[in-house]
């Protein structure tokens, strides 16, 4: 399908303000090029990332979600990322259990000095998602005229 050939992945990156967002910044400052398919949402902490955010991203057309925070032990709020670690170990398994490709949710610890790691993580994810193709699970179409259909199909 012609649409498919034009398809570019959409990746939503939830980056913690204190480490990973700074890491992304550093990647930019160092003129490291990384895939433009990632859209970054700055969050105060990886611990702030509610599974509902990730679900909403998939519903609205994300092909992958990257959650990125400070390395364990380095959390600006002491333990936010430790909580996030437990939460996402469970949530990722749950997503796979109901039929998501596990690769579509990536969690990575990236510090403010790891610009290269940020660029590399995004590129790697972009490659994986290009191989997987668009996400269809839970995806919604924008409600509007195109959405009008007879209930009985």
């Amino acid at each position: 399908m012609s649409l498919d050939s034009q398809w570019e992945p959409k990746i939503v990156g939830f980056c913690c303000n204190w480490c990973s967002y700074a890491g992304a910044d550093l990647a930019g400052l160092n003129r490291l090029s990384y895939s433009p398919t990632v859209r970054i949402v700055r969050v105060p902490c990886s611990g702030r990332v509610n599974p509902a955010f990730i679900i909403r991203a998939f519903q609205r057309g994300a092909d992958a979600v990257l959650v990125s925070g400070c390395h364990p032990g380095d959390c600006h709020y002491v333990s936010g990322n430790y909580h996030a670690r437990r939460r996402f170990l469970v949530f990722k398994r749950l997503l796979e259990y109901v039929g998501f490709e596990g690769e579509r949710l990536q969690v990575r610890w990236i510090s403010g000095s790891e610009g290269a790691k940020f660029a590399q993580t995004v590129d790697e994810l972009d490659r994986k998602i290009k191989a997987l193709g668009p996400n269809k699970k839970m995806r919604q179409e924008p409600p509007g005229f195109s959405g009008v259909k007879d209930h009985e199909g």
């Binding site: 519903q59 333990s79 939460r87 170990l89 398994r93 699970k137």
Partner: protein
């Protein structure tokens, strides 16, 4: 049980006893809220007492009096969770524990017991549930009639009780509790996806699973909020899936595996299979027990250990 309830009410130790009363069919019971000694005769205990009554305690936390509640082993885990969350104050509840040999799945029983039948008495043996009815004794083979959640029981005896109404029942040696979860895990991704899609698309969003759940105690539920609106009111596969995933994560580490959500579901969505997946994973990952088994073990996702497994480097 009736005598215990009478005594508690007579001596004014409690203002209310929450137990079971006979239901409108032989295989159903209905929660009973007994405030007067004379009403205690309405209480019953039989193999159809499947409902978990612990959550009703929340409705009475403003009352000046103590409340007594009848709990089975699985229900006692729910009570522990409510105590841990300070939803219920320990000094305001009297726990009437009933060691339990397993309860009957009403859906299975309904196929065997004619409507309108009255149960006069019941007993449980290793192999069957024996029911005395007006027209003789009826046997329900354990293999067919036992509730799915009782096929392996971690706590036949309540983990917490002020009075036990029977001899303690020893837990069976650990079996492969999560065999069904492992079965689903072993399927190819497409099959898992189709399986859950098939179930979730059927969801009516009646919220019975949430309302009956002892882990769901929020004053304002995220699913009732309109701003922000994390799950739209529309009933469709995407929103229904969002509902079930968010719910599974909200009760992760707090779900006590009482199976009430699955029992309440009017369209037979295997919700226990979803929640058990999370329980199995948190047990394996963080070495915790089934939530509610121990009063001193707080919910797994509310705490952490620096040495937790890490897959995110």
């Amino acid at each position: 049980m009736r005598e215990t309830a009478r005594q508690l009410l007579r001596e004014r130790e409690v203002g209310l006893v929450i137990g079971y009363a006979a239901g409108s069919e032989a295989y159903w019971v209905t929660p009973a809220f007994i405030k007067e000694e004379a009403q205690a005769d309405r209480l019953v205990w039989n193999p159809f007492c499947v409902n978990s009554l612990a959550k009703y305690l929340i409705n009475y936390h403003h009352e000046p009096y103590k409340v007594a509640v009848v709990v089975k082993g699985c229900d006692s885990r729910a009570l522990v969770r409510l105590l841990q969350d300070n939803q219920v104050q320990r000094e305001k509840v009297v726990v009437i524990g009933i060691p339990c040999l397993g309860v009957v799945d009403a859906k299975a029983a309904a196929l065997k017991i004619a409507p309108g039948t009255r149960i006069l008495g019941a007993s449980v043996t290793d192999g069957e549930f024996l029911l005395q009815t007006e027209s003789g004794t009826l046997s329900l083979p354990r293999g067919e009639a036992l509730c799915a959640k009782c096929r392996y029981c971690e706590n036949p005896t309540p983990v917490l009780a002020d009075t036990l109404l029977a001899e303690e029942v020893a837990a069976e040696p650990a079996a492969n509790i999560y065999a069904e979860v492992r079965e689903v895990e072993s399927w190819p991704r497409e099959k898992r996806s189709a399986f859950w899609d098939g179930h979730f698309q059927r969801c009516l969003r009646c919220y019975a699973c949430r309302n009956i759940c002892p882990a769901c105690t929020c004053r304002e539920c995220v699913f009732d909020q309109t701003d922000p609106c994390w799950v739209a009111k529309a009933h469709n596969l995407s929103e229904n899936t969002a509902f079930h995933l968010i719910r599974a994560m909200h009760v992760a580490g707090r779900c006590v595996d009482c199976g009430e959500c699955e029992r309440a579901c009017p369209v037979n969505i295997p919700l226990r299979l979803l929640n058990q997946k999370v329980i199995k994973d948190i047990k394996e990952l963080f070495g915790v027990s089934t939530p509610g088994s121990r009063l001193d073990e707080m919910p797994a996702l509310g705490m952490f250990a620096t040495e937790d497994p890490d897959e995110f480097n």
